[in-house]
Amino acid sequence: MKAFLALIERDLRLALRQGSAIGTALGFYLIAVSIIPLGLGPDLALLSRIAPGILWISFLLSAVLSVDALFQEDRDDGSLDALAIGPLPSELIAVSKSLSHWLTTCVPLIIITPLAGLLLNIELNAVPKLLASLAAGTVGISFIAGAGAALTLGLRRGALLLPLLILPLFAPFLIFGVGAMAEAPGAFVQSILFLSALSLFSIAAMPFAAALALRLSLE
C-alpha cells in the first residue's frame, strides 16, 4: 500500500510540475468546445440542445490526448523495470497509473466543464446532471485508457494507434453520458447507474489486461 501511494504521489507531483499534459488536455477541450458552435451557425436553441453531446465528445477526445505517455516515459527512462521488480504486482501498477490519469486529466476537465458549458449556452439546471454523469463515467474511461496505453507500449507510432483502439470502447459511456440529460422520467438515474456499472466493470477488468501487456513489454 505504501508503494502504491508512493507511486501515485510521484505521478501527481510529476504531472503538476510538468503541467504540459494537463495544460494540453484543458486547452484542447476549451478550443474544441469553442469552435464547434462556429460550425453550427447562430442557433442558440440548437446549441443548448446538443451541448451535452458536444461536451462529452470533446471531453473524451481531450482525455485520450496524453494517454500514450502514461507508461511510455517510465519505460523509456528505465523506471518501468525498477517498478516491475518492486513490491507492486503489475495489476496494481496499472491501477495506480489509471488513477493518476483520472486525477490529473479527468478531474481538471470536469472542473472546467461548467465554463465550457457556458460557451455552449447549456441550460444551467443541466450542469449538475452533466457533472454527475462525467464523474460516474470518466473513472472507467481512465481505466480503459490505461489498458490501451499498456497495450501500445513500445509500439512505433503507438500514440496514433491508441485512439483507434480505445475510442470505440468509449461508445457506451458516451451513450449513457448523454442519455443522462434526456427529459424522459428516470433517464438520469438509470444512466448514472449504467455509467457506474461500466466504470466498475472497467476498474475490475482493465488492470488485468494492462498488467499482461506490461509484462510483455518488459521483454
Binding site: L14, A84, G86, P87
Partner: protein, 226 residues
C-alpha cells in the same frame, strides 16, 4: 515464467545483513524474440560473493540478467532465488540496474532517491537517502533537478537506489558505464560493502571493475541454431 523457490526457513537470522541468500540458475537458456541467445548455463551465487559477466557485444549478458530478473521468460531451465526466511515473495530480493537509470528529470536528486526508497517499502528515511547520495558523492546536488545532472552523475543517481533501498541481490548491467575513475572506485566500494554485509551481486561489465576475488563467467556468442 521463472520459478522462484524459497528455501525452507533455516535459523533465526534477520532478513537482511546476516541472512544467507543465493541465486541459482539451473540449465538456464535465455532467448530473445524466440532465438536462443545464451546456451544452457548452471551456476549459483551465494551471499557474500559476486559474479562478473564478461563477453563480446551480443553474447547475451543483458539477456541473462533480464532473464534472471524475471523480465524475460527463459527458453529452458529456471532461476531459483533462495532466502533464509521462507518468504515466498522472492521477487522482493532483487535490484536490477539496466542501461537506463530510472530517474525522473523533473524530480530533485533527493526526491528521486526517496521515491525508490518508499516504493521498495523502506519508508521515508531521509538519513538513509542522504547516506546513499553521499556514497556516490551526490549530496551537494541533493536539491538540484535530476534534469540538470551530467551523464555520469545521472548514472550515480540511478545506482544510489541500491543503497537507499537495501535488497540482497543486485543485478547490475554495465553499472560503471559513463562513470569516471573516482566514481568507479565508489561503486566498487559500495559493492564490496554490500557483499561484506551478506548481499550478492551479479555484474556485467566491459570495464575493469575490481571486485576482489569475484568469479568471472565468460559468455560467448551462441552459434545460430536453425
Amino acid at each position: 515464467m521463472i520459478n522462484i523457490e524459497p528455501l525452507a526457513r533455516s535459523g533465526t537470522s534477520s532478513p537482511r545483513a546476516t541472512a544467507v541468500v543465493a541465486i541459482a540458475v539451473e540449465g538456464l537458456a535465455c532467448q530473445r524474440g524466440g532465438h536462443v541467445v545464451v546456451q544452457p548455463l548452471s551456476f549459483e551465487v551465494r551471499s557474500g560473493n559476486a559474479l562478473i559477466l564478461r563477453g563480446p557485444n551480443g553474447a547475451g549478458k543483458t539477456t541473462l540478467l533480464r532473464t534472471m530478473a524475471g523480465f524475460l521468460p527463459p527458453a529452458a531451465g529456471r532461476v531459483r532465488v533462495s532466502g533464509p526466511t521462507g518468504d515466498t515473495s522472492a521477487e522482493g530480493y532483487l535490484h536490477y540496474i539496466g542501461h537506463v537509470n530510472g530517474i525522473k528529470p523533473r524530480l530533485s536528486v533527493i526526491e528521486n532517491v526517496s521515491f525508490w526508497q518508499r516504493y521498495y517499502g523502506g519508508g521515508s528515511d531521509t538519513e538513509a537517502a542522504e547516506a546513499a547520495l553521499d556514497a556516490f558523492d551526490l549530496l551537494d546536488l541533493a536539491d538540484y533537478w535530476a534534469a540538470h545532472l551530467s551523464q555520469g552523475q545521472a548514472r550515480r543517481l540511478g545506482l544510489a537506489r541500491l543503497l537507499a533501498a537495501p535488497r540482497p541481490i543486485w543485478l547490475l548491467d554495465e553499472p560503471s558505464v559513463s562513470l569516471d575513475a573516482a566514481s568507479t572506485r565508489r561503486l566498487e566500494a559500495a559493492i564490496a560493502q554490500h557483499l561484506s554485509s551478506g548481499g550478492l551481486a551479479i555484474v556485467s561489465t566491459h570495464l575493469d571493475l575490481s571486485l576482489g576475488d569475484a568469479a568471472i563467467l565468460e559468455l560467448s556468442r551462441a552459434p545460430v541454431l536453425q
